[in-house]
């Protein structure tokens, strides 16, 4: 179906090729997962399939890419539209029309399909993806998961044989991501569509995949069975790491696989000392929020929430998209709307409410890194940003740069922030906010777009902040991250706090928030691979 023959892709501004001499054959009806670090060339590989590379992006492509016998050299993307459907990372950015039904029809209109065919296919697609009740809705009012399903539907109506998805679930909460992936697997199983999907959170997709393409970053592609490829790479979901720790071969890819093999491991762990419980916080909270209410026209985003934050603690704020996490963070920081309630930050210079302070002083109490960290950055170079941050916080020159070097060493200072990777941009935004030395740091969805290694680095950074005595709140959908990072988990729904407790309490209590390790080893209270390896080591030394 898709053939890459000796494909090398060069972009003008870089000396190293993005893809080097890649040979691939993806047969019909496969679900093919593309993994690799940020900047390893995943997007280039995906976009080469329908000719966006190099027709749209520029650069040079040597070798040939053929899709169903059509050479992308002679067929620009628009002429492959009936064979390849491409869905980008941000579905909203790719929408051309403004209601669901028109968006579904748009691609077919371009292909000049007759009206009765279009009508029929729109109805079929609405049902196939479970979006029939959304048909008249304006696209902008849909939730992230619904938008992503509409975007998939919009390319499916042209009946492509190949579907290319670039990180379809990166912005979605676990349930919405499940919906999208369920829709995709259904396409593979029922319609025989060939799907090529790039994804950072392998644990969400890898058990559906027939094949894994791993891009190590040097331009080559490692191609093979998911379990076989995963055995040798450092980019692995927790299940695989657990499998390695337990010495299972082949490695398990789904919770079901692992659980069937885990009885032995559970036995070994039964007498191991339970993971140390987080001690209850000592002393007074550094930030106390009482009865916070945030309203938007037609909806109450935060409905009277009380929140205490203690120094040195890492708190994860979870809940589905739109449950009020961001609104709460912004209200606590004081820059967002807050319609009632009080926030008291107890600092060295007494108790204050950040809302009453001017913005420049509020950020010395509570720092917030917004969902798109790039919004904070507006200068041309990293060095200029750092210097500006020092001026803003009256810090001695070089403070911000020193912080940045701690976070990500050796970031070139003359780079434009927009040219950096997602993780590096996050590090700059974090360094800028830390320059003001706030006691409380709020991070809104910091890990989307981060690969496993970047996430590991991020975890280390946040831990260091906590050991310095700062309080960190992380709003996130990433269950695995929370399991390894947080001391306490707060779950929100409909603007209210529905669960609040230690990570183990909350995560072990509900299957929706349980990390993979907990699912495999339930009812034992293990959350992370690190805990399991430590416990195994302990039993070994004892025995």
């Amino acid at each position: 179906m898709i053939d890459f023959s000796r494909v090398t892709v060069h972009y003008a501004e870089t000396s190293e090729p993005m893809l080097r001499d890649v040979n691939l054959h993806i047969p019909e009806g496969e679900l093919c997962l593309v993994a690799g670090r940020t900047g390893a060339g995943k997007s280039t590989l995906l976009r080469a399939i329908n000719g966006l590379v190099p027709h749209f992006t520029g650069g040079t492509l040597h070798g040939t890419v053929t899709v169903q016998g059509r050479d992308t050299r002679s067929h620009p993307p628009r002429d492959l539209a009936d064979v390849v459907g491409v869905v980008g990372q941000d579905p909203l950015a790719g929408f051309v029309t403004d209601t669901v039904e028109e968006e579904l029809a748009y691609g077919m209109e371009q292909l000049a399909l007759p009206a009765p065919v279009m009508r029929k296919r729109v109805e079929e697609t609405l049902d196939l993806l479970g979006i029939a009740e959304l048909r008249d809705r304006p696209l902008r009012t849909l939730s992230g998961g619904q938008q992503q399903r509409v975007a998939i539907g919009a390319v499916l109506t042209s009946h492509p044989q190949v579907l290319v998805l670039d990180e379809p679930t990166s912005a979605l909460d676990p349930t919405a991501a499940e919906d999208v992936l369920a829709a995709v697997t259904r396409l593979v199983h029922d319609l025989g569509v060939t799907v090529v999907v790039a994804e950072h959170r392998l644990e969400r997709v890898v058990h559906y995949a027939d094949r894994l393409l791993y891009l190590p970053g040097d331009g080559t592609v490692i191609d093979g069975e998911p379990a076989a490829v995963l055995a040798d790479i450092d980019l692995a979901p927790p299940l695989v790491e657990l499998g390695r720790a337990a010495g299972w071969t082949p490695l398990p890819l789904s919770v079901r696989d692992a659980r069937r093999r885990a009885s032995d491991l559970r036995q070994r762990l039964a007498d191991a000392p339970a993971p140390p419980a987080t001690p209850p916080p000592a002393g007074l909270p550094v930030l106390a929020a009482r009865n916070i209410v945030v309203r938007y026209p037609g909806t109450v985003a935060v409905a009277g929430v009380d929140l205490d934050l203690h120094p040195g603690r890492i708190v994860a704020l979870m809940g589905r998209n739109g449950s009020g996490k961001s609104s709460l963070l912004w209200a606590v920081q004081g820059s967002g709307p807050r319609h009632s309630g009080t926030v008291t930050v107890t600092g060295p210079d007494g108790a204050t409410d950040p809302k009453t302070l001017p913005a420049g002083r509020a950020r010395r109490q509570v720092g917030l890194v917004p969902q798109t960290p790039g919004d904070l950055l507006y200068l041309e170079t990293v060095d200029a940003e750092c210097a500006q941050a020092d001026r803003e916080s009256d810090a001695p020159a070089g403070t911000c740069r020193a912080l940045l070097d701690q976070l990500t060493p050796a970031l070139p200072g003359d780079q434009h922030p927009r040219d950096l990777s997602e993780g590096q941009r996050l590090a700059i935004a974090l360094a800028v906010q830390l320059t003001a030395a706030p006691q409380v740091v709020l991070l809104d969805e910091p890990t989307r777009g981060l690969d496993y290694l970047a996430k590991r680095q991020f975890t280390a950074i946040v831990r260091r902040l906590a050991t310095e005595g700062r309080t960190v709140v992380v709003a996130t959908h990433d269950v695995e991250l929370v399991a390894t990072l947080a001391d306490r988990v707060v779950v929100m729904a409909q603007g209210e706090i529905v669960a609040d407790g230690t990570t183990a309490e909350v995560m072990l209590a509900s299957p929706a928030f349980a990390p993979q390790v907990a699912k495999v080893l339930a009812p034992q209270p293990w959350l992370t691979v690190d805990q399991v390896t430590a416990a195994l080591a302990a039993t070994r030394t004892r025995g």
Binding site: R78, F95, E101, E109, L111, Q146, R186, S335, V432
Partner: protein, 413 residues
């Protein structure tokens, strides 16, 4: 999972408005009228309103437009914008009256109150600030304002009844690219506003000033970078979805159509110039304009035929559309006739003060204007009360997907 039972069958089809028993054409299916019909109707009403300052027919025209809107609008967001137009109309009337009060001139015998006049220097002779306020002067302002407000409200009615974007969809094939550009631009505007708000909020997090040139730079750069990223993503998406497929057209024909359109437009320019400038020879005037127009239209028609594209559920121009548009045209025509028969009644004099009067012809105008409230088919209303969506996962489990996050997630941003 508790929603599983309710999800079956119920609410699948859009609930329709019950057929209107009072309608002469009762039993017609609800459908959206061609937007062009509503616009022609509204323009007819506005034209009629422009022909009179008599407050009685004007008020009746507003009432007619309002009735049609209430009976025939859908439930889309723009349908509820009509109230805004009414408010805007009231503001216009008030402004006119206040202006007359301030810059009055004080003509008229029925002085209502004496405001102290502000003396102005000699070079501003002819302008008077305040001074005596006469009833005639205020009434004149009111009549004028009401006429303008009525015209605006009529156009507002069209906006509420027909999605302005659907009107763009109805353009001929040759202008397809232009209409796509307009649609995209229209959807980009709210996104731009959204990113400005987001970045402004983020700027506060850095404790930066919110005003001044520096703040502008801090906001403009991220917003522009964002907009550029987004437009690139959109262009890539449109390209990969087949926008602008021209493979089947030979290059020669493409050059021909391009040449025709270009030559036509040049002809139009020259013709217009010739028409306006009396010194150039006559053949460069009107004849040139006509030839140019004809060439351009021919080129566009040819180009339109080459566009290999079909239209999903196009709005059809049927008999009802003709009737509704006809009502608008008839409104304007009857009003014009009324004007030629009895001009004084249409422009009631303010001095001496007289009561405005209605004539049978004016009533006929209003009757024709309001007819679409019954003649047009009822609108389709989208299903608001459908149960939660239910997804069947491949392994056979059924669960409801979270729906209530939609409105909130919007509001959050």
């Amino acid at each position: 999972m508790t929603d599983q039972a309710t999800a079956d069958g119920v609410g699948r089809q859009a609930p329709v408005t019950p057929p209107d028993s009072r309608s002469a054409l009762a039993g017609r299916l609800p459908r959206a009228l061609h937007p062009g019909a509503w616009w022609l109707w509204a323009l007819g009403l506005a034209t009629a309103a422009s022909h009179t300052t008599n407050p009685l027919p004007l008020a009746l025209l507003i009432a007619a437009a309002a009735l049609v809107v209430v009976r025939r609008r859908g439930d889309a967001p723009w349908a509820f914008a009509f109230r805004m137009y009414l408010i805007l109309g009231a503001v216009i009337v008030a402004m006119r009256v206040v202006f007359r009060l301030v810059f009055g001139g004080g003509q008229g015998d029925h002085v209502l109150l004496h405001l102290p006049e502000i003396p102005l220097p000699a070079w501003a002779a002819g302008i008077r600030l305040f001074g005596p306020v006469a009833a005639e002067q205020l009434l004149g302002g009111f009549y004028d304002g009401l006429r303008l407000a009525t015209m605006l409200i009529c156009l507002g009615a069209a906006n509420a009844l027909a999605n302005p974007k659907r009107l763009l969809k109805a353009v001929p094939g040759a202008l397809y690219a232009v209409s796509t550009a307009v649609v995209v631009a229209l959807s980009v505007a709210p996104q731009l506003v959204e990113s400005v708000l987001r970045v402004r909020r983020a700027r506060r997090l850095r404790g930066a000033a919110r005003q001044g040139l520096r703040a502008l730079r801090g906001i403009a750069l991220p917003v522009l970078a964002d907009a550029l990223d987004r437009s690139l993503a959109l262009a890539a998406a449109m390209d990969s979805r087949g926008y602008g497929r021209t493979a089947a057209i030979p290059a020669g024909q493409r050059a021909l159509t391009g040449g025709l359109v270009l030559a036509g437009l040049v002809g139009v320019c020259v013709g217009t110039y010739g028409l306006l400038d009396a010194t150039v020879p006559g053949y460069l005037g009107l004849p040139m304009l006509i030839v140019g127009l004809a060439t351009a239209v021919a080129g566009m028609l040819l180009a339109g035929r080459q566009v290999r594209r079909s239209r999903y559920r196009p709005d059809r121009w049927r008999i009802t559309e003709v009737v509704v548009a006809g009502c608008g045209v008839a409104t304007a025509v009857v009003m014009a006739v009324a004007g030629s028969v009895d001009p004084v009644r249409l422009y009631p004099p303010v001095s001496p003060l007289t009561w405005p009067e209605l004539t049978p012809l004016m009533l006929l105008v209003v009757a024709v204007a309001v007819a679409p409230a019954w003649l047009a088919p009822p609108p389709t209303l989208a299903a608001h009360r459908t149960p939660r969506p239910v997804l069947t996962a491949p392994n056979g489990t059924t669960r409801s997907s979270p729906k209530r996050d939609t409105s909130e997630s919007e509001a959050q941003r």
